[in-house]
């Protein structure tokens, strides 16, 4: 499936850079402790290191903004901006549009026909789904691990998140990741991907509750 932010694209490069940086640093440290040979590094070496760092900052900013803008672009199809525009004009680009109310403690999903479901949202494989999220009490989080996207929702703001539903039918976790009170641990919902033929077998698919 196509992931929202595409972790195996640019993000994987950044993670590889981070990992190699850690390993390089540890090798330098333990070489300084364990190696027999002694060596006084020149200041030029440090400046070179800083130059590499500056290059990395430039590259990381480019990759991160590129990735996030590409994601955001999908929200802006049709109109210049979907975010904050609730007349629905920009929503043509999506197969499904849900208004999500995050509350203490759970998620309410309102579909295009104004039908409300609590803590479960049913979509079909591969559908492009838009979630328009609001909160009416405290700060909540909205995280769909399988789609690799997180948002944080302020009560006085609105957030929009889109995903591509997984191809595999099953139940996928939606969870709050911001502490929102004692019920935070129970603030979960299910993204139910319904196969064309199987509604009854849902009980055995995916994860247990």
């Amino acid at each position: 499936m196509e992931n929202a932010l595409g972790i195996w694209g640019p993000q994987a490069i950044m993670m590889a850079i981070t990992a190699s940086f850690t390993v390089l640093g540890l090798i330098m440290l333990f070489a300084a402790i364990l190696m027999k040979r002694r060596w006084k590094p020149s200041y030029a070496f440090e400046f070179g290191f800083i130059a590499v760092m500056l290059g990395l900052v430039w590259y990381a900013d480019k990759l991160s903004v590129g990735t996030y803008s590409a994601y955001q672009q999908n929200l802006e199809e049709g109109t210049k901006r979907v975010s904050g525009n609730y007349d629905g004009v920009g929503e043509q680009a999506f197969d499904r549009v849900f208004t999500v109310i995050a509350f203490q403690w759970g998620f309410g999903f309102i579909n295009e026909e104004e039908e409300v479901s609590r803590n479960a949202v049913i979509v079909e494989p591969g559908q492009k789904v838009l979630f328009k999220i609001v909160s009416n009490d405290v700060i909540h989080g909205f995280n769909i691990p399988v789609a690799q996207i997180t948002a944080e929702i302020d009560p006085d703001a609105q957030r929009e998140v889109w995903i591509t539903a997984p191809d595999e039918p099953g139940k996928y976790l939606i969870q709050c990741v911001n502490y929102c009170g004692v019920g935070h641990a129970q603030m979960k919902a299910w993204l139910v991907v319904e196969g064309n033929e199987t509604t009854a077998s849902l009980e055995t698919e995916g994860e247990q509750t």
Binding site: Q11, A32, L54, L56, V57, S64, T150, P155, H184
Partner: protein, 525 residues
Amino acid sequence: MSDAIKNHGPGMLAHWTPENIVGETSIGDILFSNDYRKIALKGIFTAFIMLALGGFFALAFRSELTVPGVQFLGAKVYMTLMTLHGMVMVFGFLIPLVVSILYFMLPKVMGTEKLYWSGLAQLSYWTLIVAAVLLVIGRPDFTWTAYAPMSFRTGNPYLWMGHVAIILVAISEFLAGAVLFRNGISGNFKWGELPLMGWAATTVGLLFMISVLPLGFAGYGLLSDGLHWAQTAFFDPSRGGSIERFLYIFWSYGHPAVYLPFVPAIAVIYTIMPRLLGHKMWSYWSGVVAFILLALGAMPIGPHHFQPVHTISGGYERFVQILTMLVFIPSVLHVFNWISTLFMAPIPASARRAIPFKFMVMSIAFIIYGGATAFLNAQIAPDSDFIHNTYWIPAHFHAMFVGFTAQMAIAGFYYLYPYFTGRMFNQAMGNWHFWLWQIGLFLKITGMGVAGYIYFPRWVYDYLDMPGWMEAQIVITIGGYMVGAGFLIFIFNVAWSARWGKTAAADPWPLEMDDPAAQTAQPAE
């Protein structure tokens, strides 16, 4: 004091005559003496009591989290323990510990032999004690970040105590910062000769005094909103307040809060590393520049803590992202300086044996581990993907807070130990403490990182049986218990050796080379 120590310039002067200060201190001294070493020791041992308390909370909820399902902690109790763990560890253990170690070392390093404004240090200590008592009575369960409006809607009758405690912490840290700043500028030094610990105390003292202002205001706003002191609210959106106001105000303290213990710990490295190695740091100015840049960068980058809060690819968010990554540079300057110093000359056998040296080396390893992951955290895309508020974040800050800051403070404590007890600690127990902590911390931090990568959410007392979640939690719990065992050995060592340890030599940390060839290779600076 040997000439080798005397002639090594700034930063080399952390040497006292070993004496049994702890054994000869009366109760009155403990409570109210303004002698710098007694104030410092009071702070240090209080911090260890806090560590025991916070560690006990941690082991309680680690046991609960080992397997899915509710074992013995319900949501309310779990969250209270979690909140107190965070607050006690940061405000009660880490910051007071490193600040107290600076109180102990600064007067000697600066050559003043007294702590200026020690009355303020005293006041800062007692304010913090009041805050800790309020926290324990009030038992807040709103996490240490106390996000509005959740934090005044938790249905706890003594909630206001938590908010008052936040204000008291701000006052206490402001006073501590003033003391650090005053002592950082106190020595009689020419421009460019101020010891690096002086630079650290000056910059972090200023950072303390500036950054706690928003914390105090956040605490006041929460108190006022929670008790309905006014018709309108600061942070409660249902009464005309703004959450974004809270987020910006809180995190302009919240990010510097990380640097407040971090910078003094760095200063301890700059003080005891040249002392144990017997030569100067690789670069003086690199350290100075890094201290200044770190202090400047601390406050403006706070908003990276709530990156996924709204449409986040705007110019300001991008500015914060870039600035956050640029803070990598002062950190790299420090680490590069330390590694180069280690590389410069043969490491004396005495240093290799010294427990503080071992802790110092491993704390550098953990700053590399935690710091490199911070580079990823700063970026909006991975933050919106798997980083934000998953266990990846505790992995990062436990590497920085425990792996680096706490371990470096412990190194400083071991270094100072013979100077205030007159005796050496037990080497074998020190080694056990060292290895239990390194393995335990590595397991704990790596386990948290893996759990975060598979989206284990923060702040949950119970969780679903998702693939990999329980396995990661088991690893973290094992690591946590190893750290706890190391702590017990450490405390036993501290108590036992104070009475029965070997009497410390006039110079407890003499330079010794086992290898005569290396002895000659060492330039007699």
